[in-house]
Symmetry: C2
Subunit: 222 residues, 2 copies
DNA sequence: GATCAAAAATGAATGACATTCAATATAGAA
DNA sequence: TTCTATATTGAATGTCATTCATTTTTGATC
């Protein structure tokens, strides 16, 4: 065994492995995207044998979910402490949507979607109360879709926001940067106030030109 | 080489291979889901060597997209001919959303999402004109999100519908059946009129109980 | 500080695939 | 029939995620 690395490894080990793996996982998955991240590299960065990962996580998917939960928990904690940035809740709402629109790439898995949108919803809800729910409820009620539970409507809202986000993504496949997404979310929720203010002032990002007669081929949109 | 099979193979080959591969791809992917479908099995069902697939499709993903496009094109063609089933467009809208809610599973890739929602939007649009756009436009305008292009709003609407769908999916991971989804879409757009009427009459599917204090852990929702 | 059983870590081996490619077969023109 | 461009083939390759027989570490007991 490589003695030099082993020393460092021994020093770090023991109860710190799970944390190290989470950090390494976040690092690698952020850099390369979840699919391209290999368990091998994650293990190496955590100074841990390849098999060890499976003492802590059932599978790669399991690790990915844990990484996302970890990110989102940190985010949520910080959000708790924050006071208002914008005076008008509608501003926050619009800004949040805009951020999601700029952030999301196509390479999002459903669990990421769920996580992202849950947290977006939470962040907005905590800052603003039920304000923007009204708008989505308009949509649902106008469509006669029989949902009245506010909690559910709120949850639907968050997913709808992510649905929006997916809709106008420009660049197709390549790895989404979780870190970037988190930074955006931080801005969005008013934590990085300077960035947030600057971004909020920006006009709507340029949208891809719309084809005149709609067709059913995905290539028309990419 | 297996002579018996080779005869059949020769007869079928040549310009029918692409079609055969699309059919086999749809079959296998529908049965097992895209991830679990192997190129090997698809090639076998198409009576074709493993390497041949790559003469027609750049990659497995490419094949998956082609399969979906194929399905959706067939669907779109049939939709063109259809006359109204419901008298009230709002009924169709609500029914469409309900169908998506029942259909979608978590195991949806973004391209599937795109496809599905594009087609849903198309189907609804063709049957009803811009009617339901108004509702979503309410949401966007109320949020002060600066989108005015009707085509874009319509597109966002479709993705939002899928966002809704993702939101209340119960069963986590396992393979989604493309066929089933297509059948649902067919119903939704009024083609399978009997089913459609029956389903439209059904009450809203049962929703998972909402946790009282919202938290940031995905496990709270699954 | 020596001994030992339980727990954790290790990394080479396994198995599943997607994808490639050198060899072979076919089609259609000359 | 002959020849060439094109299509087909399936065994070989390479890339992982995951497993498992060994080895190492832990901390309890003497």
């Amino acid at each position: 065994m490589d003695t030099k690395r082993a020393e460092g490894r021994v020093a770090r080990r023991q109860k710190r492995n799970r944390t190290a793996l989470l950090e390494a996982g976040e690092e690698v998955m952020s850099e390369k995207g979840i699919d391209a991240a290999t368990m091998q590299e994650i293990a190496e960065r955590a100074d841990v044998g390849a098999g060890t990962v499976y003492n802590y996580f059932k599978s790669k998917d399991d690790l990915a979910v844990a990484v996302l939960e970890n990110i989102m928990e940190r985010l949520a904690e910080r959000i708790e402490d924050v006071t208002d940035t914008f005076s008008d809740p509608a501003q926050v709402y619009a800004f949040g949507i805009r951020q999601v629109l700029e952030t999301a790439t196509g390479d999002v898995r459903w669990k990421q979607l769920l996580h992202r949108s849950e947290v977006i919803a939470d962040a907005l809800y905590r800052r603003m109360g039920p304000y923007p729910m009204r708008d989505m409820r308009l949509a649902t009620e106008a469509g006669r879709f029989n949902v009245t539970d506010p909690a559910l409507i709120w949850r639907l809202t968050s997913h709808a926001i992510v649905g929006f986000a997916l809709g106008i993504t420009k660049d197709g496949l390549p790895p989404s940067s979780i870190n970037e997404a988190v930074i955006r979310l931080l801005c969005m929720t008013g934590l990085a106030i300077d960035d947030a203010a600057e971004l909020a002032a920006r006009p709507c990002p340029p949208l891809p030109p719309q084809p005149a007669p709609r067709k059913n081929r995905i290539s028309d949109y990419m």
